[in-house]
Amino acid sequence: MTASWNRIPRVEHAAEVALGWRGRALPDVPRPLLAHGLGRSYGDVCLNPEASLLHTPGLDRFVAFDAATGRMTAEAGVSLDALLRFAVPRGWFPPVVPGTRFVTLGGAVANDVHGKNHHQAGSFGDHVRALTLRRSDGQVLEVTPENTPDWFAATVGGLGLTGLIETVTLQLAPIRSAWMRAWSQRFDSLDAFWELNTQSEREWPYTVAWIDCLNPGAGGRVGRGIYSGGRHATTAPRKDAWHERRRSIPLDPPVSLVNRLTLRAFNHLYYRQPVHATPRAVHHLPWLFPLDAIRHWNRIYGHNGFYQYQCVLPPAASKDGVQALLDAIAASGQGSFLAVLKTFGDRAAPGLLSFPRPGATLALDFPEKGRDTERLFARLDAIVQEAGGALYPAKDARMPTDVFRQGFPRWEAFAEYVDPEFSSGFWRRVTA
């Protein structure tokens, strides 16, 4: 049974097929179809209950690479991990990476993913130069932002619904080292965060903050945390070797290890970790992908799984909105291990359904606790809707239809481009 990373929902598929080669007709399995990469989204954008999944990790070949310009064409099932292994030693880097490198290029396009450098680099789709898209009527479209801007805008962030993405051409960015220069600093309130953020974003290409959403900071309000900034280094440290110490959660614990007690303790300890106000050398892997060092980390939530809640609030409503969200979470007594706060840059995202937009984005995870969780999400939804914000489809297993439609007003224009033989659990849910 194929599930997404948060293990909610649990569904059955009519058929699952592993694709092996590009350029082949779509397999003869029950319609509708949906491509499924590494299943790192948190919900049902990558699931197709009662219908068919096309597994893409077998489409893992590079197609062409121009070593002079850094332009890479690869099959859609190539992972960012594989791309990094190839590109970093050659002095190139994917211009946008999300918080895990175990995602496919096709998935990165379909969700128009963003990273810690959004304020400077935009989203993944901003660096895609071409796509090949196989439609169920047998057509193979060469999609580029110049020649087919409408198909490009529909397919970037298009949740895999416009057809099967077979190849992706990506403009890589030059780097001079596999290492980064990074710093971190505690802040004791959201006000302090905003101040730190304004100055840091101007100078640092990568920025992100972790928020302690359980223990109050200055003034007795929730909002303390740790701010980090980083950039690609121009040199490597003297000791250039770095080995990932891989750990793994070997099996499902019988109950979720995430509860009020462990959360409070974890958040407290995390806040007290040593910080490095002066930039120091850090290898790019642990800095950009800290959770990738722990395989199967999703198992800590046990068999029942967990939810991610990631929203974006427009700039005018960001300050009050984020505080309101954190207050609501604190009041509910539920909390999150990794609450992440970041501001997006001002550029408009390339896709009709792209999530990134100017404002602040807050990402949280919550163990599945039935009615309590539902009530909390309803409260958070109300804050997001009042602020005129949106929830991230890639991290959603439950958003109500009206929240989706308000957050993605161009969804009807997008629907025109949906392949009649493609669909997903998410799409059926929010358009029902």
């Binding site: 080669w21 350029g23 070949r61 590079f62 197609v63 062409a64 690479f65 070593a67 050659r90």
Partner: protein
Amino acid sequence: MNPMKNVVLFGATSAIASAVARELVDTGARLFCVARDGEALEALLADLRVRGDDPDGARILGATADLADIDGHAAIWQQAQEALGEVDSVLLAWGTLPDQAACNASVDETLEAIHVNGTSAIALLARIAPDFEARGRGVIAAIGSVAGDRGRQSNYAYGTAKGMLAIYLQGLRNRLFFSGVDVVTLKPGFVRTPMTEGFNRAGALWAEPETVARGIIRAMHRGRDVAYLPGKWWVIMTIIRLIPEYLFKRLKL
């Protein structure tokens, strides 16, 4: 250590051989890849050329050939030798996983399965052996299977072909030992490849093609006689071989 500088991969687009090719490209080897499906071969070569920083295809080469067609063997072997100069290693990796139920219902299916997985490989081995023998060095490796160690009702057409191949390799190893050529029988267990799609592939017995590929290269470098991949299959198959036939025939395997 056998050098693996100039390698011919027969059946290169199979998942295991593709993984071997990726590993070898990193070592700077020159490759000649043979596969039946032209489009798939082009996709494989393009990938290897990107990985090997060989955009013009100077060291990563290939040609299409249906290796089940024995009449074409001489020509493709000739072409590979001309392309690489001196061939120091070959890997035979083509095959299919026949449907045993279909074989039970059809003599032709049975013989076809044995031809594709066994006889055609033996034909190529017989073709290339004299060239290795004359040169007096190199390594010939072929992918057999744990299925060839004992006949089981669920896949004995395939098992027959792979068992036959293993015996042929044994004899060839004995013959070429005296001219300094290593003959390596590779016996992968369960591997997550398109060939085994549709099986329930969870569990500790299933290996990734990359793991098996590294084992293949190690075995070829060292000139191992027989290599179970991963190694634990030696233990499993030893136990399976020791089960008395009067018990074995009663098992549903």
